[in-house]
């Protein structure tokens, strides 16, 4: 009933117009989510422009300025090596965002494809895949990431540890598979998929052209949720010394090692990196939540 009312009230402009209107509506209806998006964009800008903003080198030690509290010279203070914390935070944002986005995208895409395939074929293929996913899911996320890191070691390309990205992506794959499979099963039951099969199109074509676009909504929500998770995971791994290592700047890394020894004298050493992690994860979760709320009850009054 409500659908009919809303349906009667709807009209239709062109594609770009629809997108712009949609974005405007999103901003109005989801203030929290828009806030999250703005924070994310701000962080991305800060990360990209890190060397423009800050005069210090994130990795160079300056023992004269060790453990200095926040001051006009060092807005957020310095750590036990005398490195400016703000600078390390900004450069750390690069690591966090790069690894977060890359791992999440990799994991969600791989998991999503598996989920689509499992839902489309059904039957034995699905059962087998589910059993495999069950097995991998039995490993806690951090355990899996730890093990992968320990196994494959480091492989740094252009300052980014590709293996770390892979290690964080691995536990995301089965979780993404589950979510996308559930959504894809719903799509699979739709008559237009049957119509496509009755039309004689190939299976791969149907999966990519008809099923994938219709799981975009949960996929996008998943993506943003797992960027948050990936950033947390990277922080945890770096904290344990198994992620990014000294002297590169990474938020989790800034919380471990010497910070553990010195944080009573210099609490700003742990305060600001932790806040940065929390803020990033918070923003992505806010945005992802709002995206879900906005995309889901679209036809409910």
């Amino acid at each position: 009933m409500s659908a009919t009312i809303a349906g009667l009230a709807r009209s239709g402009p062109g594609a770009f117009g629809r997108f712009a209107r949609g974005a405007g509506r999103f901003a109005r209806q989801q203030p929290l989510g828009t806030l999250g998006l703005l924070v994310i964009l701000l962080m991305a800008a800060a990360a990209l422009g890190a060397d423009l903003v800050s005069p210090y080198d994130p990795e160079a030690a300056d023992f004269a300025a060790m453990l200095a509290p926040p001051s006009p010279d060092h807005i957020l203070g310095t750590d036990s090596f005398g490195r400016d914390i703000l600078t390390r935070l900004l450069f750390g944002a690069r690591t966090a965002l790069t690894i977060g986005l890359a791992s999440s995208f990799l994991g969600c895409a791989a998991g999503g494809l598996l989920g689509l395939t499992a839902a489309y074929w059904g039957g034995r293929v699905d059962m087998l895949l589910q059993q495999l996913v069950d097995i991998i899911l039995a490993f806690p996320i951090i355990v899996l990431a730890l093990v992968v890191v320990a196994l494959v070691g480091r492989n740094t390309v252009a300052g980014i540890d590709l293996n770390l990205i892979a290690a964080i992506a691995v536990p995301i794959v089965p979780r993404a598979e589950r979510v996308i499979r559930a959504a894809a099963l719903g799509v699979r039951a739709m008559p237009y998929i049957d119509a496509a099969r009755a039309g004689g199109y190939g299976d791969g074509y149907i999966i990519l052209r008809h099923m994938a676009p219709n799981v975009m909504a949960p996929f996008l929500v998943l993506l943003s949720a797992y960027v948050a998770q990936a950033i947390l995971l990277e922080a945890s791994l770096s904290f344990l010394g198994l992620g990014v290592t000294e002297p590169k700047p990474a938020w989790g890394l800034m919380l471990s090692g010497d910070s553990a020894n010195f944080y009573q004298e210099a609490p700003w050493m742990i305060l600001f990196p932790g806040l940065a992690i929390s803020l990033a994860v918070f923003a992505f979760n806010l945005f992802g939540d709002s995206l879900r709320d906005w995309l889901d009850p679209k036809f409910r009054t």
Binding site: G7, L8, A9, R10, A195, A196, A198, G199, G200, P213
Partner: protein, 682 residues
């Protein structure tokens, strides 16, 4: 806002005066806040019900009838829906301004409601006993023991046997029909004065529908309960209602006794509705008379009469809004030309539909088709699991240019047959010969070629089109990918197809959610036609459409068949619709064929007891005729396809069953030339 009421009219359209009616709705207005703005779903609606009377609220989807019912009980989903004006008088009090505590006391005790969806209207984790006892304890303050006893009585009253044991069961073990009986039992619990039933049988099979409606009528007459029946089915109105109120675009357009309104409708919309419904009692006249166009957008309703844009009788004065005014002693209508109705109705156009191409040879031959689904037992070490006998030994044939109707209720296997023909699922055994080639065993390459010649139109317009593809792309896809046309040729052909199905070419840019149900179904037809098929499986293609839209699509399908020489397998559960389009009909029950005959022979003289029961159960939109029809309701429930009865599967419900019926499956034999039936008692 309705115009000025004339001086002779009783206040606020209540013809009986405030004391005689049980419930009187006066100038009710309900607004909905949507993203796009304020929608006035109900705009000045007035009607009333006398004690013990049955009033039908009739209209198509979006007319506001369900919203009215929810508004009466103040059950509208907050915060979106809001009553903005009007009164609802019940026993002298206005329900809309009553304190919530008093309103709550009335709900379930004096006024009860039965909803449309039996499958989701009961709490799944509470026993039905607990749900029955709840109103008894709240309103009547019964002790647990007394309440339980009464609950068992109620179950028996609605025809559920073994009541004591059933009280401790959960809803999911009951069928749809039984759940609706339980809902009625809950409604009856505190002996209400009024029951509002919102499309109570729309989700049920025809034979079960008849059972439930008979139950409601029986209860209403015995206990003197007034009934407000909300429905879109004019046949149900004719059979069960004393009075009716027709709604359109949030307003009541006509009101009066059922006999009078059906005999001589005073509003062009009512007349149009009556004409566009396919009927079992009328001769098959060819084209159905349709109401062109669509209901208005309630966000911006047209000034003046809301039906005027679609009305054949439109005159300049219709630019001002007609009020609901009395016509004669017992009726009301909201039309400037109501006194002239029904005289000004144009005569029913008679278009002869061409005879079927009997000289065409057989295109499709299905022989001994069997499909069984294996349901595995849960877990690794469960038992053998169960087998669903979906389709058993089904045989029929379809000639070129012919429409074969495939009729049956839910679970009869008709949709499965459709899917088997399309090879969306593989048959367990049997053959499907299409122009000589056996589809059941064809390999992938052969199947791919075959798929150009056999196409499909699905039931649900909302889910049969890819929501992410523009309509033009949906139609162009087969042209580009399967016919291999270049982009210029594709564009041309796409425009041709849209025109062929009666849609403007500009629709190609639109997405499905921007179109109405009827328009989407036309797109589905265009998509099927794009392949230039010989044969189309229409799987309940019009079942989800409103009556007036249904007529348009039926006409389109008939026209396309005549023009392009298509053959159809028309799968449906609505016997009147099947009768309108088909040349021959197959009746199925629980996976087996019960009867096969030419259309006229089947409807005039059904041989099989099941076909007879089906035809009995369908009400005809003619109160005079309905009053004289014998009441023969098919009892019992549909057996589970996991364990079909031995021998004749219909014997458990058949009025003429004997012991011999259980021994062997009756063969489908030719009782008269061209008329086959599977029954040993004919």
């Amino acid at each position: 806002m309705s115009g000025v009421t004339t001086a002779e009219a009783p206040p606020d359209g209540n013809r009986l005066g405030p004391m005689a009616s049980l419930l009187a709705v006066e100038e009710l207005r309900v607004d909905f806040r949507t993203e796009a703005g304020l929608v006035r779903a109900v705009d000045g609606v007035s009607w009333c019900v006398a004690p013990g009377e049955t009033l039908a609220l009739v209209g198509e989807s979006g007319c506001g009838k369900s919203v009215t019912a929810l508004a009466i009980l103040r059950l509208l989903a907050r915060p979106a829906g809001r009553v903005s004006a009007g009164r609802v008088l019940f026993a002298g009090q206005d329900l809309l301004v009553m304190p919530e505590a008093d309103m709550r006391a009335i709900r379930g005790r004096d006024i009860a409601m039965v909803f449309q969806e039996p499958m989701s209207s009961l709490n799944p984790i509470m026993t039905i006993g607990a749900q029955l006892i709840e109103p008894l304890r709240i309103h009547l303050r019964m002790t647990p023991a007394a309440a339980r006893a009464r609950a068992a009585d109620l179950l028996r009253m609605v025809g559920i046997s073994d009541a004591e044991r059933r009280l401790d069961q959960h809803p999911h073990v009951f069928s749809g029909g039984m759940r609706q009986r339980i809902m009625i039992a809950i409604a009856l619990a505190c002996e209400p004065k009024l029951i509002i039933a919102d499309e109570p049988t729309t989700a049920l099979d025809v034979t079960i529908q008849a059972q439930i409606l008979e139950l409601l009528r029986d209860v209403s007459q015995r206990l003197g309960i007034a009934l407000v029946l909300i429905t879109h089915n004019l046949g149900i109105v004719a059979r069960y209602a004393d009075r009716l109120a027709v709604m359109y675009a949030g307003r009541v357009v006509e009101e009066g006794s059922a006999a009078a309104v059906f005999a001589a409708p005073r509003h062009p919309y009512t007349a149009g509705l009556l004409r566009s419904v396919p009927r079992l009692d009328h001769a098959r006249s060819g084209r159905l008379d349709t109401i062109e166009g669509l209901p208005p957008n309630l966000l911006h309703p047209p000034p003046g009469c809301r039906f005027a844009p679609r009305c054949f009788a439109r005159i300049p004065v219709c630019e001002s809004d007609p009020a609901l005014r009395p016509i004669g002693s017992d009726r009301q209508a909201a039309c400037h030309r109501a006194e002239e109705m029904p005289g000004i109705l144009p005569p029913v156009p008679v278009h002869a539909i061409g005879a079927p191409a009997t000289e065409g040879g057989s295109l499709l031959e299905v022989r001994d088709l069997v499909k069984r689904f294996h349901v595995p037992a849960p877990g690794l070490f469960g038992g053998r699991g169960a087998t669903v006998h979906a389709v058993e030994d089904v045989s029929f044939s379809v000639r070129r240019g012919e429409t074969l109707g495939l009729v049956g209720e839910s679970g009869c296997g008709k949709s499965t047959v459709g899917r088997l023909l399309l090879r969306l699922t593989d048959p367990t055994s049997g053959s499907i010969l299409f122009d000589g080639e056996n589809l059941a065993t064809a390999g992938p390459a052969a199947m791919r070629a075959m798929r150009r010649r056999i196409q499909v139109i699905f039931q649900d317009p909302y889910s049969s089109l890819n929501p992410r593809m523009a309509v033009g792309d949906t139609i162009a896809e087969p042209l580009r990918k399967r016919l291999g046309l270049g982009s210029a040729a594709t564009g041309r052909r796409c425009a041709e197809l849209l025109d062929q199905v009666g849609l403007p070419v500009s629709m190609a840019e639109r997405f499905p959610h921007q179109m109405s149900g009827g328009q989407r179904q036309r797109v589905g037809i265009a998509r099927a036609l794009a392949m230039e098929p010989d044969f189309i499986v229409c799987d309940e293609a019009v079942s989800a459409l409103d009556v007036s839209v249904q007529a348009q699509v039926i006409n389109l399908l008939a026209e396309l068949q005549a023009r392009l020489g298509l053959s159809y397998l028309f799968i449906a559960h609505d016997l009147a619709v099947v009768r309108h389009l088909s040349h021959r009909v197959v009746v199925m029950y629980l996976g087996r064929v019960m009867e096969v005959a030419a259309r006229d022979a089947l409807y005039a003289e059904p041989l099989h007891p099941y076909t007879q029961a089906l035809l009995d159960a369908v009400p005809v939109p003619d109160p005079a005729m309905e009053a004289t029809r014998p009441r023969r309701v098919l009892g019992g429930e549909l057996p589970s396809p996991l364990a079909p009865p031995s021998g004749c599967v219909f014997r458990t419900r058949c009025p003429c069953a004997v012991d011999a019926c259980a021994e062997a499956v009756p063969p489908l034999r030719e009782v008269r030339p061209g008329h086959l039936a599977a029954c040993i008692r004919i």
